[in-house]
Point group: C2
Chain length 327, copies 2
């Protein structure tokens, strides 16, 4: 299968090169080996690419933004390391999670260290960049990510979650770092406050679109292309965007049944099929699809306000690729 | 019992006031409640006081350094939250540790958030302060603390640790943040590079002195004043500075016996007494005391290089108080 993001390969390569050159010491091995490990097992490097594109979009030299791009990728990998502990995930990108390959303490500490490295990476930005401003935006985003993760954990033990609360949660957990990735690119380019706000909004819209699309694909994806079990979220009784919408739309009897299911997950086959039938009954799939399209359109509309450039074309292409993704 | 650090009360009060005013939101409660909790259960606030004193020592207005002082205290509390998980500590300052009062995931996430807040606190420094420089020094120290903690964990499962390796470990785990606390005070005061290096050395010497003194007091403290069980480190088979010195000094038979003991801790009463007898036999207590005095003297000598001021007098008094502490 060809890589639909192939047109971004020179940005991804620039990020990989910067990552490979990042001076993580050899010792203590228990601190740095897990950091090297999680960075090596990959990922799409989408956040750092957003930083580079957004710097170029604002007329800056995208190479100047590499340390900021790296910061977003290091930070993202730190959150994965700690999230995998909190979610008791066994694997990450097909490899054992850090707390499984090593142990709990090592994963906590290596994560703390990786967070530190992400901030240290900002030290490598050109002196012309306002350091206080860029690190302030980055840190506010990190705090927002923490808030999103806290809400996500709180929602697990709460009976009901509204779709509005769900959106608040993902705006932190997914949106904040994408917004910051774009805004930081703008800061490196010396963009004005108005432009920075546009970039933040653009990133936020993409974050919503991407996360809700994840929830939607869980139900509608082609099993041959999806790469994981379709309806896995339903089986696990996850409070996805679709589920929060359904709970707000269905009748009392259905709601009682749903809450009962979410309470005693995993759901059996018959229950999963019934949930899907309810999604169809109440038009949840269409409503969700409209919502995803709405967020992507908002992102495209914001992008229109920027002057023509190869970066704008690449960002447009990236949005179109994300929009039509099937996995 | 009167507080021997009473003469510093107006600095401590300034820190407490700044802490109380620090704008931690109410929600999500699972993120911010544990942060408020650990900050509330106290501590001596010694690191932020070092920052304020060191700012004054360099001719700055110590109040300008309050956001940097706060950063060191927030950071310290973040490390406590995560260390308590790694050490499986049940309590902190007589209260349940965060991961006991809440749970593992909450303690990891609240710690991450507190680390973020510590960095965000630096945003409140006056614009005249070089933000890139002060955050660089802070973050290098945090990374050094992570390295120290990693070494500490590695040492637990290693058979032998040299006294030199032990010193390397505590220079990270204890010294780095004290050094940074002092250096950051200097930066706020606009001190030159030479002065900043002096402050770093001064903090480093105090860090060594304080940590080795902790190890020493474990053996020699007056049980009525110590507040915890004397020789607790020996019972637990900890590789303290004294133990690493003893392993380097004793004969082969004694060494084999010691390594055997460290391997199958906890030690019984007879073994504890034998270890103390070996400490006396090989002059470990005297050697250690000389070492502690040496580090405190080095700190005092560095302090002499600064001009007279109330801050210098207070720092001198603080060093003398630490030197003669019995618990």
């Amino acid at each position: 299968m060809s890589n639909p993001l192939e047109f971004l390969h020179h940005y991804v390569e620039a990020v990989e090169k910067e990552l490979a050159q990042y001076p993580l010491p050899e010792k203590p091995a228990s601190l740095y080996d897990p950091q090297r490990y999680i960075l090596k097992i990959g990922g799409k490097r989408i956040r750092p690419v957003f930083t580079l594109l957004s710097c170029g979009l604002c007329g800056g030299n995208y190479k100047n933004a590499l340390p900021a791009a790296l910061a977003t990728e290091l930070l993202h990998n730190f959150t994965l390391m700690h999230d995998d502990i909190m979610d008791q995930a066994q694997s990450r990108r097909g490899e054992p999670a850090v707390h499984i390959k090593w142990n709990l303490s090592t994963a906590i500490l290596a994560g703390d260290g990786l967070f530190t490295q992400s901030m240290l990476s900002l030290q490598n930005l050109p002196d012309s960049v306002n350091h206080k401003k860029i690190s302030g935006i980055f840190l506010q985003a990190v705090n927002h990510v923490c808030e999103g993760q806290a809400l996500d954990m709180e929602f697990e033990t709460r009976e009901e979650v509204s779709s509005e609360e769900y959106l608040e949660m993902i705006s932190g957990k997914t949106g904040a770092l994408i917004s910051a990735s774009m805004e930081m690119g703008g800061i490196v380019a010396g963009a004005d406050q108005k432009t920075l706000l546009l970039l933040r909004e653009l990133g936020g819209a993409l974050g919503y679109a991407f996360q809700i699309q994840d929830d939607w694909l869980d139900v509608v994806a082609d099993p041959d292309k999806f790469g994981k079990k379709v309806a896995g979220d339903i089986v696990e009784g996850k409070k996805t965007f679709l589920m929060t919408l359904l709970l707000e739309s269905c009748n009392k009897v259905e709601k009682m049944w749903l809450l009962h299911c979410l309470n005693k997950k995993p759901l059996d086959n018959a229950s999963v099929n019934k949930v899907i039938a309810l999604y169809k009954n109440y038009g949840i799939l269409e409503t969700t699809e409209l919502r995803i399209d709405g967020y992507y359109s908002r992102a495209e509309k914001i992008l229109e306000k920027f002057g023509e450039s190869e970066f704008k074309r690449d960002l447009n292409k990236l949005i179109k690729t994300l929009k039509t993704r099937e996995y």
